[in-house]
């Protein structure tokens, strides 16, 4: 689960990290209140969307006087921001953050993520921060420093002090910098995060270090431990079909094509999408019904796939292990009735009770074609989707 900048800054403030507060504004009528709360300009008006690259896309603007604040707020609220992280369709800005501008002399970058190869959290930091960080990572990876963190003890104070100096931060602020780096790691570990990022981390005129931006992502597996944050999820930022799927214990990801997929198991679901592409088709989604899917879950899965009007044909690929093929077959038959399915349907069943499953399907009124292997299924569905007029 990702948080917005304004939410992340709330957490930073709770942990005593240096951030500038501000006010969240959802309607233009609230701008005056923000100016009353923070009367001293200049200000920065910042779009609150989950994707990065906001500044370059025009979602972060400086305002020198109160009129300009209103003007920038009008410009940004409701605009569609397109950055490398939003995808080509962009994201509509529904919230902005109005905050006093901060004068600074230097921009740096710092984040904490999980390092899979080292099996521990790692700090990534660079003396060159700001909007070009992704290019820096791609073209000058040696400019990114790494500090590996003991997953039990956290960041040792000496590691934090060394990092402060190696980033070229003012030596007289070494204790402040060290405290900041330790604080970031503490938040990462306390809240079971998958990412905490400050870009830019800035040096103010007096040499002190300040978090100008804040980004936080929770590890979804750790969220049940941090119930107070579950309500911080912004439904505007989520794909409605993905949310609906999650409610029914299904894992759904929207893709760009026209072939709906219903599969058990994440690996097989990915592989099924790959097989479709391999034979010249294009999958509309990734959908894993999980290991213990019920008739109800299969019905919901069909509903979600069909709510996408790009879908021209549906492929069901089930390798029954613990899940028995006859139960899945019954689920498909019931679901197809409930949603009055009319699109071409290709079914491939294998595994436990496959003969019983086939028998149920052939005795039902369901219109479908049966495939006896994965490749056969993928080829058949690609042909079926091409035959449907769009």
């Amino acid at each position: 689960m990702k948080l917005h900048e304004y939410q992340a800054k709330e957490i930073f403030a709770k942990y005593g990290l240096p951030v500038t507060s501000g006010m969240l504004v959802k309607h233009l009528s609230e701008v005056d209140e923000a100016l009353k709360k923070f009367p001293n300009g200049p200000w920065v008006v910042k779009a609150q969307i989950h994707a990065g690259g906001r500044g370059k896309a025009g979602g972060v603007k400086l305002a020198k006087n109160e009129m300009e604040v209103s003007q920038k707020a009008t410009d940004i609220l409701g605009m569609t921001l397109i950055s490398p992280q939003t995808g080509p369709q962009g994201k509509v800005v529904k919230k902005i953050f109005i905050t006093p501008a901060v004068d600074y002399t230097k921009e740096l970058y710092v984040s904490v993520v999980l390092d899979r190869a080292h099996r521990c959290p790692v700090i990534l930091a660079s003396a060159e921060g700001g909007t070009e960080i992704e290019e820096l990572a791609a073209h000058k990876p040696e400019a990114i420093q790494k500090v590996y963190i003991d997953p039990i003890q956290g960041l040792h104070p000496y590691q934090a002090r060394q990092l402060h100096l190696s980033l070229g931060l003012p030596p007289d602020k070494i204790n402040q910098g060290a405290k900041l780096f330790q604080g970031l790691v503490k938040i990462f570990m306390d809240l079971d995060l998958s990412l905490i990022e400050v870009n830019p981390l800035v040096v103010l005129k007096d040499g002190s270090i300040h978090c100008l931006d804040a980004k936080v992502s929770f590890d979804d597996n750790g969220l049940p431990r941090h119930k107070e944050y579950i309500s911080w999820r912004d439904p505007d930022e989520e794909d409605p079909r993905e949310l609906q799927a999650a409610e029914h214990g299904l894992s759904y990801i929207s893709l760009d094509g026209n072939i709906g997929c219903l599969v058990n198991g994440a690996g097989l679901a990915m592989a099924t999408a790959d097989a479709i592409q391999h034979f010249g088709g294009s999958p509309a989604n990734f959908l894993d019904v999980g290991g213990g899917a019920t008739t109800k879950a299969v019905t919901e899965a069909f509903k979600i796939i069909l709510s996408d009007n790009r879908v021209k044909a549906i492929l069901v690929n089930i390798f029954g292990g613990i899940m028995k093929c006859d139960i899945i077959a019954q689920g498909i038959i019931d679901a197809a009735k409930q949603v009055s399915l009319s699109l071409p349907l290709v079914i491939r069943l294998e595994g436990t009770n496959v003969e019983k499953g086939k028998e149920l399907l052939s005795k039902s009124e369901l219109k479908y074609s049966f495939a006896s292997s994965m490749d056969e299924a993928a080829k058949a569905i690609v042909v079926a989707a091409q035959g449907v007029k769009s």
């Binding site: 992280q85 999980l114 899979r116 190869a117 099996r119 521990c120 959290p121 992704e134 990572a137 791609a138 003991d150 997953p151 039990i152 990462f188 570990m189 079971d192 998958s194 590890d219 979804d220 597996n221 750790g222 049940p224 431990r225 894992s251 990801i253 893709l255 599969v263 058990n264 198991g265 994440a266 690996g267 097989l268 679901a269 990915m270 592989a271 099924t272 999408a273 790959d274 097989a275 479709i276 592409q277 391999h278 034979f279 999958p283 990734f286 894993d288 290991g291 390798f319 029954g320 292990g321 613990i322 294998e350 595994g351 436990t352 292997s373 994965m374 490749d375 056969e376 993928a378």
Partner: protein, 300 residues
């Protein structure tokens, strides 16, 4: 011989009184696995479906001589269950549980370094099976057939797919290891390849990978330098968009890294035969056994 799991395995189940734990303990017993009991704190001294229940793993080990465990404990407590098993002297820990926070697994792995004799498989995995000998996990036993092909995979049902293709080729498997779909797992592709390389009964290996991380690339480096046996592979996730978690917590392309393309290139460069479609995993293996290397040509 086999890899990690042989006929001397005496197995307990942690979380045996839960519905999944009990169901799969019974299925493992039916397959022929020597199941010697289970653990559920607070239910020690009782018996369920013929399984003796203990309060602690230490107690179970003392009274049954168990050396292997299968864990079904809920996600937020599973890390503790792994450590309990290690501390009780269990040699093979198979953690089936899905949804363990990554930071918990970082801590667990760090502590497991103190137990060099303990091997962890998983979490978030289907388990391990040595066909005809024993299974510790949730895979359907009957799709397997004793043979000489080692299989290692990050996924569950996709592993069954590979197993099934091998069984249909009448080749059979030495051992199949589901290493799990999480970012941090106990046993990696590399570990499994090393073990298969040493195993006299394994003739060739199938490796099923996924997008995310660099485990497949590391395995490819090993194959290039040390592997004496043919290797075939498939990587799932060609169609996965960046930044999206494809079901498994570990299956995510982030910062342009961990793409299927990169992985396939690394595998092919190491002389591994890579199936271009999941339906061709069996064919890729046949080609690898014939001594072919690199990309599997499309059949006309």
């Amino acid at each position: 011989m086999s890899v990690y799991l042989g006929k001397n395995a005496k197995v307990i189940c942690q979380g045996i009184t839960g519905s999944a734990g009990l169901f799969h303990s019974k299925a493992c017993r039916e397959y022929g696995t020597k199941m010697v009991g289970g653990v559920t704190p607070g239910k020690g001294g009782s018996e369920v479906e013929g399984f003796k229940v203990f309060d602690t793993v230490a107690d179970a080990v003392k009274k049954t001589g168990a050396n292997t465990t299968m864990i079904f404990v809920p996600a937020l407590f599973a890390g503790d269950a792994i450590l309990e098993a290690a501390d009780a002297g269990i040699e093979l820990i198979v953690c089936i549980t899905e949804g363990i926070p990554a930071n918990d697994m970082a801590k667990v792995n760090s502590i497991l370094k103190q137990y060099p004799k303990t091997r962890l498989i998983g979490p978030n995995c289907p388990g391990i099976i040595t066909p005809g000998v024993a299974k510790v996990g949730i895979m359907p036993g009957y799709i397997h057939k004793p043979g000489k092909i080692g299989i290692v995979s990050r996924s569950g049902t996709l592993t069954y797919e590979a197993v099934w293709q091998v069984t249909q080729l009448k080749l059979g498997q030495s051992t199949c290891i589901g290493i799990g779909g999480d970012p941090i797992v106990g046993t990696t592709h590399l570990d499994a390849l090393e073990a298969f390389n040493k195993d006299k009964d394994t003739q060739a290996v199938i490796m099923i990978g996924e997008i995310g991380g660099t485990a497949e690339e590391e395995a490819a480096q090993y194959v290039k330098k040390y592997m004496k046996k043919p290797v075939a592979a498939f990587i799932a996730g060609m169609t996965a968009p960046p930044g999206k978690r494809m079901g498994h917590a570990g299956a995510i392309v982030s910062g342009g890294k961990g793409t299927a393309k990169e992985k396939i290139a690394a595998l092919e460069a190491a002389g591994i035969v890579v199936a271009q479609s999941p339906g061709e995993i069996g064919n890729a293996l046949v080609e690898a056994l014939k001594g072919k290397k690199g990309k599997l040509k499309k059949k006309k």
